[in-house]
Amino acid sequence: MTGQLVLIGSVGVLAAGTFAFRFAGPALRPRIATRPWMERTMASAAVILLTALVGTAALTEGHDLAGVARPTGVVVAGLLAWRKAPFVVIVLSAAATAAGLRLLGVP
């Protein structure tokens, strides 16, 4: 019973804390975004975070490397995106490449 309560409490803490992070940005923004270079820096920060997410989500699993199939799928998608292929093709090619390689026994 206590275990269940701790679990529910932890879900609540994660939900409330996540919302606080999400709400803080828009709330603080009017005070910070007063100068053009601030605005540019904040936009750059978001692109930096998203690029880092692409890298870690493509190449790592926990603290280890993610194998070969997933990064290869993402590289194929990246090449297609660079050649301005339709978005559907890009996304499905990533899944198809990774799934195909795994079918062939590549991790």
Binding site: G17, F21, L50, R70, G73, V74, V88
Partner: protein, 224 residues
Amino acid sequence: MRSMKRTLGSRLLRNIALVCLADGLVGMSYGAIAVGSGLETWLPVALSVLVLAGSAEFLFVGIVAAGGSPIAAAVTGLLVNARHLPFGLAVGDVLGRGPRRVVGSHLMNDESVVFALGETDPDRRRAAYWACGVGIAVCWPLGALLGAVAGNTIGDPAALGLDAMFPAVLLALVLPALRDRDVRAPALIGAVVALAATPVLPAGLPVLAALVGLLAGVRRAVLR
């Protein structure tokens, strides 16, 4: 809905729908994995509605299923979700004020942020953010519920290559921003820092550590 279609155009709307659909599929595997590893159905479903952030939920469920402390799982999830603060600083202008800002904050995630960043016109920024945010807020919990109820009937998500879809979506959407040289160098430095930090730092911190890439931009500005 019709005015949203007019603002966004059918191509962008189709792209957003595809991302929501993909998220729904990943949500199904998430729900199935959670229940399959012995957790009760309510847990992945409650997390998907209340937290609405996939990677943090996967970690939470993984830690609890492995017998770890739920408190440690919550702390780890919070570290992973800390990136929403800088996200809100970057795209917070699309949320509006009052109750809209409260709802809009909850809809903030990697996908809705990157769709908003891709648009320069304020109306299109706002419409892209909300369309993607609402779509994912519906598809992700629905997927988690279906997966949790269906249980182990859904096979390994890796076999379908679903794990490659999330980074591919983000890559396709940030690529236009990376054509700007002033952003590209800091972003690539940040990504390298994040990858180098992954083996040693707790989950979530490597991505935040990528922000040191901002220093590269500052240096460039000073030298110029």
